[in-house]
Amino acid sequence: MLKINNPGFYTSIQDLGRFGYRHLGVPVSGALHLKAFKRANALLENDPNDAALEITMTGPDLEFTEPTIMVLCGAPLEASMDGVTLEMNQVYQVPAGALFKSGHVREGLRTYLAIKGGLKSELKLGSRSQFYPITLSGTVKKNSLIPYDPYADFSPKLLKISPSKSFGDKALIAYPGPEYEYLEEKHLNELFNKDFKISKNHNRMACQLEPTLPAHTIRMITSATLPGTVQITPSGRLIILLRDGQTTGGYPRILQLDGDSLDRVGQKQFGDIVCFEKIKQP
């Protein structure tokens, strides 16, 4: 079992996501920085969908009751195991009873802690990704125990890889969204020529940007939204929907981010700067 001695700021279990239920209003969820999550599973030679902890800003304190193998990927995190400092993107043997302690991320926002074979938490609608109320809770709770299969012998093919820096970029690749054509010149000028700041209203569902664009009167009938959809509210506020975002919405969908850019947004925190780089639909 993985015992949560201290859950940290916002630590949740995530896999690749929950698919096939969007038409019933169920968000896909899943790791927000998919590339880092996949790298963690790849280093452990896991199934790509094996569940891991997604750590946000401040990490948890944990106890491993069984031996396993672990790796940290994504935002560099101050972390140690039994007093020994841990490096990012490096595979470690974890003896039974090991204590994992962590502090703040040094850069970015989200770190993945993956173990060999993955976490075996509750499977709901085909996924272990925590999303309340599909799962009992949206985050791991203090003193909860998460099952996993013990592994003592494992010789990884790769022990360590060099960290990727890609999430530092501010440019987000944006395709025109379904309501893009209704924007006026005054919106377009600002949209692609201005920097935007991540506001304090950001979580796994959505990320609001500052400042606002000019207000608009575009009206539409509620339609589907996707992770990476950029909406504009009537008062001109830009909202990037993330993986826990609602599956439908009534605000104009002016841009659609590509997967890599969505990953990058998942590593942005309050005050970080982004800008949109327009790309023509292939």
């Binding site: 996501g17 698919f19 096939g20 239920y21 969007r22 038409h23 019933l24 209003g25 169920v26 968000p27 896909v28 709901k124 609608l125 109320p133 599909i134 799962t135 395709y175 969204g177 379904p178 539409m220 009938i221 509620t222 339609s223 589907a224 996707l226 990476g228 959809t229 609602q246 599956t247 439908t248 919405g249 969908r253 659609q256 981010l257 590509d258 997967g259 639909q281 292939p282």
Partner: protein, 247 residues
């Protein structure tokens, strides 16, 4: 080739959006649902496809493979034209219990007053006709219902509530609906439905599907308590109504 009633648009690099005329219309919804069924049965057979119908649109996305958006946009009108004997999809008709007692309906009196009717008349008007499910979204199991009679239309609350209890039945603008989970909300609350519409342990998790019809039935507080318990332990039997005759 028959006229194609929708336009196709790319929805980013991985998805395609089909838009029928911008109307809330049962015939449009049935055409969308029929085409959705046809696509899943005849053409989009690989695993991973998700087709999301809401009001006048259908969104196509596949999580398992890269979608060739341009190719799909080219072929969709052809597939639509090839579809023979455009049968409407099978939809169901549900009767959902709602308790309109003051305890669950903090806005019932104010809303009745604004609409110029007695609370009993409002309940009568709210339960008089079936509503069509035009899509499910916003929250898991939240039904977008259409078919609100003119005399029940009113604007939203000025200030949204931070905490609307699960099961609350709301009324706002041209919409009425049930909050599937406790959440913030700006609709006027006029009652409560004691049974869950979304149960993640079940497959499918939502008893109601897009295209179905919902009718509300006013129940007493005693019946509310009974159904609440039945719902919690999972033995509530969802009531089916007559489908076609009543329309």
């Amino acid at each position: 080739m028959s006229k194609i009633p929708f336009v196709t648009k790319p929805f980013g690099p991985d998805a395609v959006l089909l838009e029928w005329p911008k109307k809330v219309d049962t015939d449009i919804l049935m055409d969308i649902l029929g085409f959705r069924e046809y696509l899943l049965k005849k053409h989009l057979l690989e695993p991973g496809w998700e087709l999301i119908p809401v009001y006048h649109s259908l969104t196509l996305i596949n999580r398992m493979k890269e979608v060739n958006v341009a190719e799909l946009i080219g072929v969709l009108p052809k597939w639509y034209a090839q579809r023979k004997g455009k049968r409407s999809p099978r939809t169901r008709h549900w009767v959902l219990p709602v308790c309109y007692d003051t305890e669950f309906a903090p806005d019932l009196e104010e809303v009745s007053e604004r609409l110029g009717m007695a609370p009993e008349e409002l309940i009568e008007a709210h339960t008089a006709q079936p509503y069509r499910v035009y899509g499910i979204g916003f929250l898991p199991g939240f039904l977008y219902l259409g078919g609100i009679p003119e005399r029940l239309k009113l604007t939203r609350r000025d200030e949204p509530r931070l905490h609307v209890a699960a099961g609350s039945v709301g009324l706002a603008g041209e919409q009425t609906g049930i909050y599937p989970q406790t959440s913030p909300g700006g609709w006027h609350i006029i009652g409560s439905c004691p049974v869950p519409l979304f149960v993640p342990e079940k497959n499918p998790p939502c008893v109601v599907a897009p295209g179905d019809q919902i009718r509300f039935r006013a129940i007493s507080r005693a019946e509310y308590d009974l159904h609440k318990i039945e719902g919690e332990i999972g033995i509530y039997k969802y009531k089916r109504g007559q489908s076609r005759a009543e329309n």
